[in-house]
């Protein structure tokens, strides 16, 4: 239990000619909330899909809890994809059943309690839900597993600020204490105070990996402000950020 939860060594993923992740070296410990930050196309979703075993690395090594992604790691990873993958004729209750069937670590009572506080009735159809409600429902299900690693791909994209606060609070109060939460997002201002660490991805490279407080201390600015600075410079053809 002592070793790092996630270890990447020279991890490479390419899609044909396009290199999405290039020699990524990364270690992430346990009991942390980590932000995976980067502009669109920087490799965030690719990294998350590698971690949950939906993609195979093109090179290098990736270990979760000391194991390569496979049946064991999948049982330890709770994944919130960046888009809804459930059939929209299903009701909230069907989804809870679905999760209970699939995952032995799923806590049904917890999920039902969360749904109640979200005012989602078991009989509600997914089709009739707003985008924000769908996001919240999916998150409730994902956070109701007792996993070691929660991979949340853009959990707050496309929902209103009040719902974002609710979602961040749900993550804070529901992650299990030995579990690590990896949140990919570009809405940094909304997640910053919840994070222990931030990982900056730029064109498939990790350009910075540090604790949020260390960044604030060294840079004298918020992670959000630093992000804007790094990626604005690039947009106007400036120098690449290196450290």
């Amino acid at each position: 239990m002592k070793e790092d939860l996630i270890v990447c060594r020279d991890l490479v993923k390419d899609y044909g000619k396009l290199t999405a992740l290039d020699q990524v070296n990364l270690t992430i410990g346990r009991g942390r909330i980590v932000g995976l930050l980067g502009p669109n196309g920087s490799g965030k979703t690719t990294l998350i899909k590698l971690l949950c075993g939906l993609l195979q690395p093109s090179g290098g090594e990736l270990l979760i809890d000391g194991q390569k992604p496979g049946p064991y790691t999948k049982s330890q990873v709770s994944y919130l994809p960046d888009r809804m993958y459930f059939a929209d004729w299903m009701k909230a209750k069907d989804l809870t059943d679905f999760f209970a069937d699939f995952y032995p670590d799923f806590d049904r009572t917890k999920a039902e309690d969360m749904c109640r506080s979200l005012k989602i009735e078991p009989g509600h159809r997914i089709k009739s839900m707003s985008k924000g409600t769908k996001e919240k429902l999916q998150l409730a299900l994902v956070m109701s597993r007792k996993a070691q690693l929660y991979l949340l791909d853009e959990p707050i994209a496309g929902v209103d600020p009040a719902a974002r606060d609710f979602i961040m609070n749900t993550i804070l109060t529901n992650y299990n204490e030995n579990g690590t939460v990896l949140i990919s997002t570009h809405l940094i201002g909304d997640v910053e105070r919840v994070l222990d660490e931030a990982i900056f991805l730029q064109m498939g490279h990790v350009v910075r990996h540090d604790s949020v407080d260390a960044i604030r201390e060294e840079e004298g600015k918020s992670v959000d402000a630093l992000f804007r600075e790094i990626f604005r410079a690039e947009a106007y053809g400036g120098e690449h950020y290196d450290r």
Partner: protein
């Protein structure tokens, strides 16, 4: 009381300052039990590890005490509380004097104005 976190400074330091103020002003009563890290973190909407760091600093300051049985309590030691209030007061005085200096008042003039100031003057 609300948690007010600004950009650009480490979050744990800001939490530490605000917790110190709450203890100094008696929001958390002398000798009483502190809320748990998780409760405080949820209330402030911050990471529990960050809140833990702020509390560890409070403990190092002697403002909170951790007992094996009772959990974390606000200190019972009046001298620590007095010293803290004094330190905070010094900070406020410094801010006042710095601002007054910017406006061109010497320390003595600033002190005199303060003495004669009435609420109605503003």
């Amino acid at each position: 009381m609300n948690w007010n976190l600004s950009d650009g400074r480490p979050i744990w330091q800001q939490l530490h300052e605000q917790l110190t103020l709450r203890i100094a002003t008696g929001s958390y009563v002398r000798g009483s039990k502190m809320p748990t890290v998780r409760e405080l973190a949820a209330e402030a909407g911050v990471n529990p590890n960050t809140m833990q760091r702020a509390l560890a600093q409070l403990e190092a300051d002697g403002l909170v005490v951790t007992n094996r049985t009772a959990g974390r309590t606000v200190t019972d030691d009046e001298s620590v509380l007095t010293a803290t209030r004094r330190r905070l007061a010094h900070g406020t005085i410094k801010t006042y004097l710095d601002q007054m200096a910017l406006l061109g008042f010497t320390r003595a003039e600033a002190a005199e104005l303060l003495q004669t100031w009435e609420e109605e003057d503003t």
